[in-house]
């Protein structure tokens, strides 16, 4: 008999929702940090404001949303039993929230002990999370590339956390012996490429064909992309062996190869979406388009910086890439996914408590279309303004405020969905009880 095969549809709804409700709040905070520091935050990626904002986005917003989604989708995709999801969420959620606040505060207040505490908290929280997820994904009988890609993504998270731990400890202990610049390069590559992009790739194999009924990704591509991405990041990691704290000159070729992989993935996704059989252009679809457009722009900008070193040497080039990657690619994908996952989970869980005579409202009644569109427009406007602020830093406070507003609207929509869930739940339970009496 196959081990631990369970076709449970979903863990308790509070498991993913606690993460989804927390994530946008830190987007608001990141926007406010930018508004507070203003143009100075956009002077370089190493400024206090930029470092704090970056970690608020990647650890608080992205990691929260990704951990919450993984706890939800692995049960479906892998038919895998996650070990006590409620307990895992109860432990991991407060820890990564606290750890993220410590990490952002460590950059803002330059307090070494905060780096050490954040490192410890993340090591415990993510170590636990990774152990549970890997146990589920390694024992699943499910087949198919997405499962392999999810495993690779978790490996990427493991290495990102390990490198992040090392960096935070050396900052906390003021240990000068490590080549911090190179470690950061490798940490960022694993975090954005090996973990976040790998996860997006694995998820897109599943959901891009599913939402719009596009053709499937070609089989060879589904194999080649993750392996090529992994190979590039492994080669990139060899720069840790560089002399005098500088990367080897051939690393620019590795970077180039990485951009080819990223651009191929983005172009393939856009191409598949252009061949979709379902013609609806809902917000999720538009978020995916902008995300893939941002990834293409990221790769092209990287090539431009490579071809034109004077431009690439500007401290603002890294900020430009950062804006394209974080709000442009990842937060767009995450928001688009939340607008599908949350209405569906509302329906799924309501459907279970009702009976056939009291069907729950359908997905489109869970978050008003207008509210999603308004939030999407705010997000796209914020993205454009953030990019403009890299060129004209005087716009930074305005860009920060607009980004905070778009995240506040997202939070508003998430809270609205949860409240609608509760209202409908009470109504269905009352109907069922009314018939029973």
């Amino acid at each position: 008999m196959p081990p631990t095969l369970s076709f449970e549809q979903a863990p308790p709804i509070s498991v993913p929702y606690r993460f989804f409700l927390t994530a946008p709040l830190f987007g608001v905070l990141a926007g406010l940090v930018l508004a507070w520091y203003g143009p100075e935050a956009f002077s370089s990626r190493w400024s206090q404001g930029a470092l704090a904002m970056t970690h608020l986005l990647v650890v608080d917003f992205m990691l929260q949303a990704m951990v919450g989604s993984l706890l939800q989708i692995v049960a479906v995709v892998a038919g895998a039993n996650i070990w006590r999801p409620l307990l895992v969420a109860t432990v991991v959620h407060p820890l990564i929230t606290a750890g993220a606040v410590m990490l952002a505060s460590a950059f803002v207040f330059e307090q070494p002990f905060l780096f050490i505490m954040a490192a410890m908290v993340f090591a415990i929280a993510l170590g636990f999370f990774l152990a549970v997820m890997l146990a589920a994904l390694l024992r699943t009988p499910a087949q198919g590339m997405p499962i392999h890609v999810l495993r690779l993504a978790l490996l990427g998270l493991l290495i990102t956390v390990g490198l992040g731990f090392t960096l935070a400890m050396s900052l906390g202990l003021d240990d000068q012996s490590l080549p911090l610049g190179l470690l950061v390069n490798v940490h960022v590559a694993w975090g954005l490429g090996g973990w976040a992009l790998m996860l997006v790739i694995g998820v897109s194999y599943l959901v891009v064909p599913m939402f719009q009924l596009t053709p499937a990704y070609p089989l060879w591509l589904t194999r080649a992309l993750p392996l090529a991405l992994l190979a590039v990041i492994c080669l990139w990691s060899l720069q840790l062996g560089g002399r005098n704290g500088e990367a080897q000159s051939w690393q620019s070729w590795v970077g180039l190869a990485g951009m080819v992989v990223a651009a191929t993935y983005a172009a393939a996704t856009l191409w598949l979406q252009s061949r979709r059989r379902r013609r609806q252009t809902d917000v999720t679809f538009l978020f995916w388009r902008v995300a893939m457009g941002s990834l293409l722009a990221y790769a092209l900008s990287w090539l431009l910086f490579l071809a034109w070193p004077a431009l690439g040497a500007s401290p603002r080039s890294a900020l430009w890439l950062g804006v394209l990657a974080l709000p442009g690619l990842f937060i767009s994908v995450i928001t688009g996914m939340l607008y599908k996952i949350v209405p569906f989970l509302n329906w799924l869980h309501l459907q279970r408590i009702g009976d056939p005579r009291t069907p729950p409202p359908n997905m489109k009644q869970m978050i008003p279309e207008k509210a999603m569109r308004r939030q999407m427009q705010a997000h796209f406007a914020a993205l454009a303004l953030l990019l403009a602020a890299v060129l004209w830093p005087a716009l930074a406070p305005l860009a920060g405020l607009l980004f905070a507003a778009s995240c506040a609207l997202l939070e508003w929509n998430m809270v609205g969905a949860v409240r609608r869930y509760e209202t409908f739940r009470a109504r269905i339970l009352a109907a069922v009880a009314g018939r029973g009496s």
């Binding site: 008999m1 196959p2 095969l5 369970s6 076709f7 449970e8 549809q9 479906v76 995709v77 038919g79 009988p141 499910a142 087949q143 198919g144 997405p146 499962i147 599943l206 599913m210 939402f211 009924l213 059989r277 379902r278 013609r279 609806q280 599908k340 569906f344 329906w347 799924l348 459907q351 056939p356 069907p359 409202p361 359908n362 997905m363 489109k364 009644q365």
Partner: protein
């Protein structure tokens, strides 16, 4: 190709096509076309559920002794989808585009994640478990699905 892992996934795609045709017609407000395409979609979906519940699952359960696990959850999801199909039929009769769009969206999500589990997990397991009976099972399934084509 005479394999569970071929016939049923192919039929999933066939149902997807019919889903799109009906949804498109409903969105255009072309109700006669919606009624016609929806009737085909509805019939194929129900034929697919029947083929699994009456032929594939019982054979799998007999071969493996697993009757409480995956097949039970698949039957449960079939029931959920039948309810949504009923709601779509009501929307077609009432010529309610918003209602149709909302229920169709819900059905599509449920259907796609259901198909994913079947294609990635259950069908490969069936193929292993059936082994000797595979040919006969496939013939029966094909017959049930083809009856509904045309």
């Amino acid at each position: 190709m005479n394999q569970v892992t071929q016939i049923l996934p192919d039929h999933h795609k066939h149902c997807d096509e019919l889903f799109v045709a009906a949804e498109d017609a409903a969105q255009r407000g072309d109700w006669p076309a919606t009624a016609a395409t929806f009737a085909r979609f509805d019939a194929q979906m129900r034929a697919h559920f029947a083929a699994e519940e009456e032929v594939l699952f019982p054979t799998f359960e007999a071969a493996t002794g697993m009757s409480g696990g995956p097949t039970q959850m698949m039957r449960y999801e079939h029931e959920q989808m039948r309810t949504l199909l009923d709601q779509l039929a009501t929307a077609v009769t009432a010529r309610d585009s918003d209602g149709y769009a909302g229920v169709a969206e819900t059905l599509l999500m449920l259907l796609q994640q259901h198909n994913m589990k079947e294609e990635n997990i259950l069908y490969p397991m069936c193929e292993q478990a059936l082994a000797a009976d595979a040919g006969e099972v496939c013939e029966k399934i094909s017959a049930m699905l083809e009856e509904e084509h045309a």
